[in-house]
Symmetry: C2
Subunit: 338 residues, 2 copies
């Protein structure tokens, strides 16, 4: 069995090396949005492409998507915001009991105006240094709900009257999926999605650190118990509360920051792509991504189902491995096997 | 080392099973030629598609591509024809010394009229039973040159005057690559190509037996010494003449006829697709194909380079294996290692 894992590891290293020898670590840059035929070929190649054109018309307008522009439209509408003490939502975090958990943020309803007030100053003058979190609470706010907050596919089955979206006043294109509003205090931990991802930055900039699907083994996935940030009734501070033991373990990378030197093995070839306001990134299905932002940042991303027929799905499953990875807290080996 | 091969074998079986569970053994049928965008998506999926429309305009005309129609245009022009004693060109064949060889046909210049006379009777009444080979010589003729006999890419760099093609009078579309003229006496042994293949039958019918790239391991590739059919000056009969020992061994499937029950392991899922006159098959790069024909058969195929970027090339290499397969004549183990 040990041999088996060694052989699988050798196979994964061979595939990663061959893939890199053939494709390198470069990415293509397009000045305009591709045609449907061009995009179909880009998806077939499955490499990231930076498009120096926005998929949102107003993204060229310097006033559009500014704090003031958003506040004027959203006013005091209640929106759902992810709140954490450290800006690391959906990330592996050490709990009060010193164990590692996959930590989900607290979701809090607040007004757009209240959210904007907690975020870094807007505009090109945004500091590059992380600011202090919201002085009042020490908490970090990020509009990052990934359930189609700008549009869900359900929207198309609904009439305008019963539109479930909280963001109707911001809607500009009928196929946008998620709206992201935050600043450098929020970071997205490295993960991959089974979706073709079109990511347009409207304000500020996002810094993506990418690994191809062939290098997923470099990220050492582990299984972590689930926990959620909850506001304590007594201290009114956020506490990380473990979920009931029957909650399935969450499979996640044990590399918390792939930009830290030495956090990845020598065989990894991370790509760094900065997407500025008005630019669009094509992020192929299965690519691993770690995302930081600079100052006040607004983005919209479009998710499309990947092509399920043919080889793609089988290869992604093979590269990621169908066997369960080790436990993130080895001492749980007795109790936690699920 | 033995373990390594066992693990690789297990991995290949797992991939083949997952691929089949996801995709089955069906193939899509289209009534019309796909648009470029539709075709790009078809190539991304990489599954065979039968198109009930010809890529050659005249393929709907019942007189076009008949023996008479071809003879009227080609007359006595000399063309290059593959000649074998058994209809199995580019196939593993046992030599007079009882050893197995990869046998190349003799290439003989003859007139189109002379070729047509050796082939089965034309038209829908073509017998389904193999006919006797050319009574006079016992030899089988097949126009099957695969070097772009109708067009080569070089053609596009040449002016009309210096067109190297022997088939200018038959040319109807500028991107046709190979013209195939033969009958049921000729069979194409199972192999795969690194090209996207568009195959249009103009007369008669072709029966393809296909295996996906994930099932290449079922075909047990071996390395065979190279040999060529040569006409004996004394007997004037074809003899299989081994090439010089320094000639590289040829890697080829040891399964001579995958349609014979028991010739493939139980894990194989061969697909059988008959392509009739006026129909077109999209044969994806890397798919294994064994091809038979019914009666007098004319076909044109178009080869396109496969997309070299991304994963496709790496996966095909992994599935086929980069290590050299065993020798086809194990007793050669001492002398023949190359």
């Amino acid at each position: 069995m040990a041999n088996m894992q060694e052989y699988r590891q050798e196979t994964l290293k061979w595939l990663a090396e061959e893939y890199h020898d053939l494709n390198g670590s470069q990415y293509d840059i397009l000045d305009d949005l591709p045609t449907p035929l061009e995009f179909s070929r880009i998806v077939h190649i499955g490499r990231p492409v930076l498009i120096r054109a926005g998929a949102i018309p107003s993204s060229s307008d310097s006033y559009a998507w500014s704090k003031q522009w958003i506040a004027e439209r959203m006013g005091d509408r209640a929106i759902s915001v992810a709140v954490t003490p450290n800006g690391r939502a959906d990330a592996v975090t050490r709990g009060a009991d010193n164990k590692l958990y996959f930590a989900e943020p607290m979701t809090q309803k607040m007004s757009m105006t209240a959210l904007l007030e907690t975020l870094s100053s807007d505009g090109s003058a945004a500091t590059l240094e992380p600011q202090h979190a919201d002085e009042k609470s020490g908490e970090v706010h990020y509009l990052q709900s990934q359930n189609g907050n700008l549009f869900s596919s359900r929207y198309y089955e609904l009439s305008g009257e019963e539109d479930p979206s909280e963001f109707e006043p911001l809607r500009e294109k009928p196929d946008a999926v998620n709206l992201w509003i935050g600043d450098e205090k929020s970071v997205t931990s490295i993960h991959s999605d089974p979706y073709e991802n079109i990511y347009t930055v409207l304000r500020g900039s996002k810094q993506f650190t990418l690994l191809p699907p062939t290098e997923g083994w470099c990220l050492q996935e582990r299984r972590y118990p689930h926990a959620t940030y909850v506001r304590s009734p007594t201290t009114s501070r956020l506490e990380l509360v473990p979920s009931p033991p029957e909650t399935p373990l969450v499979r996640w990378s044990s590399v918390t920051d792939p930009t830290v030197p030495g956090s990845l093995p020598a065989e990894a070839h991370p790509m760094h792509i900065t997407v500025n306001a008005g630019e669009t990134l094509y992020l192929p299905a299965g690519w691993w991504h770690y995302v930081r932002q600079r100052g006040f940042t607004v983005a919209v991303n479009y998710w499309y189902d990947m092509e399920g027929r043919g080889m793609s799905w089988v290869w992604l499953n093979f590269l990621r491995g169908t066997e369960e990875p080790p436990l993130g807290n080895p001492e749980d080996a007795d109790g936690q096997r699920d």
